[in-house]
Symmetry: C2
C-alpha cells in the first residue's frame, strides 16, 4: 500500500486509460481477427454464444453492486444498468414505459448469426473457461468493497470506440450478417459514456487515498483479465480453419483431418 499523495482525477483517469491501452480485450488476437474480418462464421457464432454468458452475468453483478450501496441516490442511478440489460415491462400504471433490454438484442444478434435460440438460452455450449472468467467477475463484485466493484466496471471507458469499430468491421467484412441485428452495439456507446462517467465520478470521490486509488486500478486490471480470458476460451475452442470461401495460402492439404 502506498502512502503517497492521492492522484488528481486526471492522473487517476490517465492510469485507468493506461490499463485499457495495454490490457483491454480489443488487443486480443481473436478480437483483432474479428475486426479484420478474418473469423469464420463458426468462430463468429462461437464468440456470440460465449459472450452471451457474459451478458447474462451483467445484470446479476449490477444487482450485487446495488445491494452493496447504502445510498438511495447511488442505487437510483446504478439501477439503469439493470434495465439496460433486462429491459423494462410497462403498462400497469405503476411502471415506467416499456424498453427493450440488451439481452433481447443480443439474442437477436445470435439469431442473426445463425445460432439456435434454444442452445444460446440454455448455455449448454458455453465453454468452461468462459464460465470461470464471467463467474469470477460476479465473485469479485460480491467479495470486494463497493468502491472496487464500481471501479471494475470502468472498462466502459473503452467501450464506445470498440463498438463503433465493430459495427464498421462487421458491416464491411461479415456481409452475411444483416446489419439490422447490430442494435446491441449501436445502443451501447451513449450508455457506456454515461455509465463510465458516473463510475469515474464515484471512484474519484470515494478513492481519497493513493492506496484506495491503486485498488481501483487493480480492479480494472482484473476486469480486463476477465474479458481477455473469455476470448482465450473462445479462441481455443474455435481455432482458425480454412474458410470454405477463402482457402488459406497453405491450402487445405497441410491441415490435419478433423478427428
Amino acid at each position: 500500500m502506498s502512502l503517497e499523495a492521492p492522484w488528481t482525477r486526471d492522473e487517476l483517469l490517465s492510469r485507468l486509460r493506461d490499463v485499457g491501452a495495454s490490457r483491454y480485450h480489443d488487443k486480443h488476437p481473436f478480437h483483432l481477427r474479428m475486426h479484420e474480418g478474418k473469423l469464420s462464421k463458426r468462430q463468429v457464432q462461437g464468440w456470440v454464444l460465449n459472450r452471451y454468458y457474459y451478458q447474462t452475468r451483467i445484470p446479476i453483478k449490477d444487482a450485487v453492486i446495488l445491494s452493496k450501496s447504502e445510498d438511495s441516490a447511488f442505487r437510483r442511478a446504478w439501477i439503469k444498468r439493470i434495465h439496460d440489460h433486462d429491459g423494462t415491462p410497462g403498462g400497469d400504471g405503476l411502471e415506467p414505459r416499456a424498453q427493450e433490454g440488451g439481452l433481447v438484442q443480443w439474442l437477436r444478434l445470435a439469431d442473426g448469426v445463425g445460432l439456435s435460440r434454444d442452445e444460446v438460452l440454455n448455455l449448454s455450449r458455453v465453454e468452461a473457461g468462459t464460465r470461470f472468467a464471467c463467474d469470477a467477475y460476479v465473485s469479485f463484485v460480491r467479495e470486494r468493497p463497493l468502491l472496487e466493484a464500481v471501479a471494475s466496471s470502468m472498462t466502459e471507458l473503452f467501450a464506445p470506440e470498440i463498438m463503433a469499430d465493430r459495427i464498421a468491421a462487421w458491416e464491411t467484412h461479415y456481409t452475411w450478417i444483416d446489419p439490422a441485428i447490430l442494435d446491441y452495439f449501436r445502443a451501447r456507446p451513449p450508455r457506456a459514456r454515461r455509465d463510465s462517467t458516473e463510475a469515474l465520478d464515484f471512484v474519484t470521490t470515494h478513492a481519497t487515498t493513493r492506496a484506495a486509488q491503486e485498488l481501483c486500478v487493480a480492479a480494472l486490471v482484473t476486469k480486463c483479465q476477465i474479458l481477455w480470458s473469455l476470448l482465450d476460451a473462445v479462441a481455443l475452442a474455435y481455432p482458425d480453419e480454412p474458410s470454405l470461401a477463402e482457402p488459406s495460402r497453405d491450402g487445405p492439404s497441410l491441415r490435419e483431418p478433423a478427428t
Copy 2:
C-alpha cells in the same frame, strides 16, 4: 423434511395466512397500542425512527434477490420493488419518468412526527435490537436460495389491511400529525397486493415438493419474527409513560423518578 404430497396453491396460501394470523406484527402489544391511539408522541417518533432502518434495508434485500435470479423476466418484475423504495430519476431520455420513492415518503413522515431529518438519516438513534432484526432479514435473503428469499417477502399478503387500519387509526387518534404526510401508507396497498400476488405465484410455481413448501412457510415465520423483534426493540426503548396531556389514572406520584 416431509415426503407427503405437495399442498395445492390454496392449501399453501392457507398455511401462509395461518402464519400471518398468529405471528404478523399487527398482533404485537406495541402495535396494538399504536392503532388504539395509546402511544405518546415520543413512542410514535421512536417507532418511525426505528422503522426507517427497516425501510432502508428493503431495497438492499430486493437487490440481493435480483442478484440471485438467472431469469431476466423475474428480475424485470422484481426490480419495481427497488424503484418503489428508491424512486426513479427521470429526464435524460434513457430513463423512465421520475417517481418518488418510499424512502423519501418515510422521511416526510419522520419530519411530520417532529423528528430531526439528520438524526433519522444518520441512523444514530436506531436501537441495536432493530439493527440485528433488520440485518437478519438481509442475511437471510443473502444466504438462502431464491425461493425462500422470495417467500420471506410474503408478509406483503397481510400489509394492505394493516395500512388501511393505520391510516384510519392515525387520523383518528394522532390529530397532531398532518394527514398529508401519510403518503407512504396510502401508496403501499396496491403495491403490496401486486407484489404479494407475484411472490405467491413464484412460490406456487417453484415450490413443487411439500419439503420446499414447508421451507417457504418457515421463511415467512422467520420474516414475521424479524418484524416482531423490531417492535420488541422499540417497545423496550420507548416504554409507556404518563402522557403530558392525559395523566394516567394512578397519577404521576406513583412513578419512579427518571434516572
